[in-house]
């Protein structure tokens, strides 16, 4: 056994090898990212376990008869966040609302990511005319403010859950496409790609097994941040009255807009969904920032 080999084995044991393990170890030491991670896990658990942890059903009448024009009963031991304007337990609605906000946020960010991924990598790797056509289309979409584009799409498709997912997803496509194209362009000129091409690896294999894995890290960061924006956009659409068709759906943005006339008499009904939106968005943003630092190649090797 040579000395070199021994040293190599030592290095293997001490420092994590590979981008992801290194990133993970750096992420673990970043307290801010851990807070974000905890928040996201908390909301994910709340969403998953909603039927078991919510004290009441989201549309169960627990005290409409106690409501008057000056408002419904406020927070109490039985109803921690009070009763909403239609006599339902506000806490239960917030808990069930996590399902809608996270699900819509996740699906729309994921769909925006996948479509953007395909378009961006094709444009970046193929170059030439295809690149021009795809990227100019993306530029047109980027020229329209995201929320405005989403409003237009919802107005066109009608209100409903999947329409909102489509709308928010579409606004995410150009962001991912652009990001990935830039990343692919950088990787395309790397020596290992040149080497792969030289030994005759097929174009598709080069793209999928060599370029994409190396170009993906900024997309992961953007993906977490996109989740955050998606949750805000969904709430924004709900607030503008373009939320789910059923007004009884416990969606946070819709819940906010339904109480805006009663802000003075029952402020907690607006504060609760507002805080839920802020915390979940904060969670994703903190993770995103943590990931960005962890995956930054300039910081690589420094623990």
């Amino acid at each position: 056994m040579s000395i070199a080999e021994l040293e190599g084995a030592d290095v293997q044991r001490d420092a994590p090898s590979g981008l992801w393990r290194e990133a993970w170890s750096r992420l673990r030491r970043n307290p801010v990212a851990i807070i974000g991670f905890c928040l996201v896990v908390f909301f994910a658990l709340v969403a998953l376990l909603a039927p078991w942890i919510a004290p009441f059903g989201p549309n169960q009448d627990v005290g409409f008869s106690q409501c008057s024009t000056s408002g419904c009963p406020g927070p109490s031991i039985h109803h921690w966040l009070g009763i909403d304007l239609n006599g339902r337990d506000e806490l239960s609605r917030i808990i069930f609302g996590a399902r809608f906000s996270l699900l819509i946020g996740f699906v729309s960010a994921l769909s925006g990511l996948s479509i953007g991924l395909v378009l961006g990598s094709i444009a970046g790797y193929a170059g030439g005319l295809i690149d021009t056509i795809v990227m100019r289309c993306m530029d047109v979409m980027l020229a329209i403010p995201g929320l405005l584009l989403a409003i237009g799409i919802v107005a066109m498709l009608g209100t409903g859950l999947w329409q909102i997912m489509v709308a928010v997803g579409v606004t995410n496509v150009p962001i991912f496409a652009r990001l990935l194209r830039g990343s692919v362009l950088v990787q395309r000129e790397q020596d290992f790609v040149l080497a792969a091409r030289a030994v005759g690896v097929r174009r598709r294999a080069i793209l999928f097994s060599h370029i994409l894995p190396n170009a993906i890290s900024p997309v992961i960061v953007q993906g977490t941040l996109a989740m955050a924006t998606a949750i805000i956009d969904v709430a924004g659409l709900g607030f503008l009255g373009l939320g789910p068709q059923d007004p009884a759906t416990p969606e946070w943005g819709t819940m906010l807009t339904q109480v805006n006339e009663y802000l003075q008499s029952a402020p907690w009904l607006a504060i609760a969904p507002g805080v839920a939106i802020v915390l979940s968005v904060l969670g994703f943003n903190l993770i995103g920032d943590g990931l960005r630092e962890a995956l930054d190649p300039k910081l690589r090797g420094r623990v």
Partner: protein, 554 residues
């Protein structure tokens, strides 16, 4: 340097002048002008071509009809006519007109002017015959001289002709007897306009768009509405303000307030804030949750109107299973009216057990079937009708609207949705913007179940019952000749006592047949500065609330 001094001096003078100007204008505004805000802009200022409350609020100050209504009530009182009497067969009504009356443009008001107006309405071109434009002529007089294709012609019209007997007597001839006719012509929609102005400013020229809004090419309905009322239009900048000034040719006593500024502030909270800050001196449509804020404020007064509107859940019988009486009864038992009124209407509503508000004659004091909130009963009725539970219904509610009979539609809808889902139904929610989609959808019979209501135009049961249930309409989609005949008979009855009895019977019949489920009688309220006196809130709301009687406390 000297230049600077001169500039400074000029500036100082300008500021001084401005300050003095402000001071004096403030003083005059206190004594003679009044700023009022409601929720929307008027549509047009030609009363014959509008049906919304805000347009009629303004035109009611500019125009006068042959007869009017007592402020705060529904009693018919003289206005441009001092007296009137029907012929023996009640087909001709002769009106004696006030003398010495002039329009605000100085032209004289006389019998010929009355006939000119009635003939103008009767001879409306095809575009203006659209019920969305000339809604009230369509409702009250039905037919036109030259009907548009498919429209009602002179044979269907209640109006036959108008004859001027000299300058101060006019006869209106009808094709059939109608007891509600006198109340109906008191509507501000039948306000008499100056024939000279109508011709000069091309009142009838323009186009009607697909949503039923008239876009005039002339300026009568936008800048030059000329009538005999206490006020005349000075300026109107849509979405900014509308200014009325005292009409120098008005025949009655000069109004104490010489200038009224009208503003539209759509947001309830912002409107109240404008009043609290002194920006305006009066607002309409105080939100139910703000009633206590106004009554607690020592500088404000709250004026409540008597209940005069009905909120109901419409059931379109052209859409099964609403054609089954048992299903309609199940709907009625599945609504918790009392909880909805308490939580959402508060002091602005009362639980309704029938279509007519209690203050209107024809209201049935007893004998009305009672449909108490009872989910078990509702489920039993649905099973009895041979349906499998849950029964899916398409339930519509409007967005962007607040009406006295429906202060917060979406919240009321959710309350209904919750109890209906517990009573054997499965509600599929749908919503649409109030104007034009929602109104169009209900009127054309597209919706199965929907929330709607009615505010009195003139305080007569005909305006409630006959308008809704007197003939086959797409709105309710039923054909019930027995009910139609009953209502036609009630409207034609000249004897007031018998007429009341007929309408009471019809009210009960409607509740047995259940073309809709009434749930609330609604009212609305105004808030004014405490020093504004003379405002009389009436059952028909802004349509009959003259500003000429307003004055400030000394």
């Amino acid at each position: 340097m000297r230049k600077k001094v001169v500039l400074f001096a000029l500036l100082a003078i300008a500021v001084a002048v401005a300050l003095v100007g402000c001071g004096s204008s403030k003083k005059s505004s206190k004594s003679t002008s009044f700023v009022f805000a409601s929720s929307a802009d008027p549509v047009l200022l030609d009363p014959a071509l509008v049906s919304d409350g805000e347009s009629l609020r303004i035109t009611n100050q500019i125009f006068q009809s042959l007869v009017g209504f007592k402020p705060g009530g529904s009693e018919v009182v003289p206005q441009l006519a001092t007296s009137w009497k029907p012929s023996a067969n009640a087909l001709s009504w002769t009106f004696t007109l006030k003398t010495g009356v002039k329009f605000s443009d100085g032209t004289p008001f006389n019998a010929a002017a009355v006939c000119f107006n009635y003939d103008r309405w009767f001879n409306f071109p095809a575009a203006l015959q659209n019920p969305a434009v000339s809604y009230y002529w369509n409702t009250v007089f039905v037919g036109f001289a030259h009907p548009a294709s498919g429209g009602a012609g002179p044979d269907k019209s209640l109006y036959k002709s108008c004859t001027a007997n000299g300058d101060s007597e006019v006869t209106l001839n009808l094709t059939r007897r109608s007891s509600s006719f006198i109340s109906a012509i008191g509507l501000p929609n039948f306000g008499i306009a100056s024939p000279t102005a109508l011709k000069k400013y091309k009142a009838d020229a323009g186009t009607v768009d697909s949503t039923g809004v008239f876009h005039p090419t002339g300026t009568f309905a936008t800048r030059n509405p000329v009538g005999t009322g206490p006020y005349m239009l000075q300026s109107w900048e849509p979405a900014v303000k509308l200014v009325l000034v005292a009409n120098p040719n008005y025949s009655g006593p000069k109004p104490a307030i010489s200038k009224v500024v009208y503003r539209a502030i759509a947001d309830n909270a912002a409107r109240l804030q404008a009043l609290q800050s002194g920006e305006v001196q009066g607002i309409d449509y105080v939100a139910p949750q703000d009633y206590s804020t106004v009554t607690k404020d020592s500088k404000l007064q709250l004026l409540k109107r008597p209940v005069s509107s009905i909120g109901y859940i419409g059931l379109n019988q052209a859409k099964p299973p609403m054609d089954k009486l048992l299903v309609r009864q199940a709907m009625a038992h599945a609504i918790d009216k009392a909880a909805v009124i308490k939580a959402i209407y508060g002091q602005t509503g009362e639980v309704a057990n029938q279509f007519l508000p209690p203050s209107l004659f024809g209201y049935a004091k007893s004998g009305v079937p009672d449909y108490a909130y009872d989910p078990a009963q509702s489920k039993a009725l649905l099973k009895q009708a041979g349906l499998t539970l849950p029964v899916t219904i398409d339930f519509w509610y409007p967005t962007d609207v607040s009406r006295s009979y429906m202060p917060d539609p979406q919240r009321i809808f959710q309350a209904f949705q919750s109890t209906l889902n517990n009573s054997g139904f499965k509600v599929v929610p749908h919503s649409a913007p109030w104007r034009p989609d929602y109104l169009g959808g209900t009127q054309s019979g597209k919706y199965q179940v929907y929330m709607l209501g009615w505010i009195a135009d003139y305080y007569d049961p005909q305006d409630f019952l006959n308008v809704h249930f007197g003939s086959k309409t797409p709105l309710f989609g039923f054909d019930n000749p027995k009910l139609f005949a009953m209502l036609a008979k009630a409207d034609a009855e000249p004897d007031p006592a018998l007429r009341t009895a007929d309408y009471q019977q019809a009210s009960i019949e409607v509740m047995k047949f259940l073309p809709m489920v009434p749930y609330a009688w609604g009212s609305s309220a105004l808030a004014l500065n405490k020093n504004v006196l003379g405002y009389v809130p009436g059952p028909i709301g802004p349509v009959n609330e003259p500003w000429a009687a307003l004055h400030y406390a000394k």
